[in-house]
């Protein structure tokens, strides 16, 4: 089992939620991982795991502008012109 598959398995199986360190160690040693990878997972060292797998760091997690798009903003009603009001009366 690869590191990615192990991470996926740990996340999606209820039986593996809330493992003790000893239980996690047993599980990890059964997967086909290097000793360094096993240590990183047992110690929850995500940075070390990223480096061992030579993964590219995420630069930015933000996908939202702070100013809304024009389509999302209601048109504001213009104040009535005084001349228009006089004519209406």
């Amino acid at each position: 089992m690869s590191v990615i598959n192990l991470l996926e398995t740990l996340a999606k199986q209820s039986a593996l939620a809330n493992l003790s360190t000893e239980q996690l160690t047993t599980l990890v040693t059964q997967a086909e991982l290097t000793a360094e990878q096993q240590t990183a997972i047992i110690n929850s060292d995500v940075k070390a795991l990223e480096q061992l797998l030579k993964l590219e760091q995420i630069k930015c997690y933000i996908y939202k502008k702070d100013v809304p798009d024009e389509d999302d903003v209601p048109d504001e009603e213009e104040a009535p012109n005084n001349e228009e009001i006089k004519q209406a009366i």
Binding site: V3, I4, N5, L7, E8, T9, L10, A11, K12, L16, I41, S44, V46, E50, L53, L55, E56, Q57, I58, K59, C60, Y61, I62, Y63, K64, K65, D66, V67, P68, D69, D71
Partner: protein
């Protein structure tokens, strides 16, 4: 109405044009939150453009589809994120116009705080292509579960942090207030990946108009891997200035005031209730 369970071949039969765009959410926790329909779209796509919340996402999704393109390359500190989002949207649309089944796979929910997904789907639809969004588990969903907050109890208002301080917003301090992207609060040019404590001080100044400085708040960050811990950091409002904050941090402000009954409305409702229980004269024969 399109059948969301259609195979990818049927998507093109529903429109005259070859090419389609579906934006899906992969959830927050790698492996645990991918819905069956989102997984199916990813597997069936000709190309999958991804935006992940950890470095493992690309490897993981590459097991489902061998043509995965990371949208991260369009980010650069100092470059306006507005331009980045336009480029992300355009790259997906360009592939769609080539007749490809395109999937944009975004972490969390693809419609929650994701400008390029909404932009691309609107444009694709305008051009007559099949385009849709599939829901995903968002950071807000995880926040609700992890922090034990029920939006239904006293209400919950949610804002982008910089929008909250740049514009005059009405604050109901008898409801929860959630502020997103606090790590870049104050970045009005959209060019920075982080702002510092001096910018958070401006946010605190705005919040002090509605909350006491010792009011307990939470700095929250969802776990994205099974081996990560969820971060729930409880501290007084004033202390967020110098707290550890990053791009993924969300600020949760619980209510500081009880709900106040609207007496006028209650009187109207009581009148209506009386009319329902009072027997009508026409019913008596």
């Amino acid at each position: 109405m399109n059948d969301t369970g259609s195979t990818s071949n049927n998507l093109n039969e529903l429109t005259a044009k070859q090419g389609s765009l579906v934006c899906v959410g992969i959830g927050m926790l790698l492996g645990a939150h991918l819905t069956p329909i989102c997984k199916s779209h990813i597997e069936d796509a000709d190309v999958v453009f991804i935006s992940g919340n950890n470095a493992f996402i690309k490897e993981w999704l590459s097991q489902l589809n061998n043509n995965v393109v990371d949208l991260q390359e369009y980010y650069q500190e100092g470059k306006s994120r507005s331009l980045t989002y336009d480029q992300m949207s355009e790259i997906m649309l360009a592939a769609m116009r080539e007749g490809k089944k395109v999937v944009g796979a975004f972490y969390g929910h693809p419609g929650v705080f994701v400008t390029p997904a909404h932009k691309a789907i609107k444009q694709a639809t305008k051009e007559g292509y099949f385009a849709k969004m599939e829901a995903g588990i968002s950071a807000e969903d995880c926040l609700i579960a992890d922090c034990g907050i029920d939006p239904g109890s006293v209400g919950l208002a949610s804002f982008e942090a910089n929008q909250f301080i740049r514009f005059k917003r009405q604050v109901d301090n008898s409801a929860y207030l959630v502020l997103w992207q606090v790590g870049v609060v104050g970045d009005c040019n959209l060019t920075r990946f982080s702002t510092g404590s001096e910018y958070r001080a401006v946010l605190v100044d705005v919040l002090l108009q509605h909350y006491p400085q010792e009011h307990p708040v939470i700095l929250y960050q969802a776990a994205t891997l099974a081996i990560e811990k969820t971060i729930i950091n409880k501290l007084p409002l004033k202390d967020i200035i110098d707290a550890e904050v990053n791009q993924c941090t969300t600020l949760i402000i619980p209510p500081c005031k009880r709900l106040v009954v609207n007496k006028q409305v209650m009187e109207k409702l009581q009148q209506l209730d009386k009319q329902r229980t009072t027997p009508s004269l026409t019913a008596i024969k």
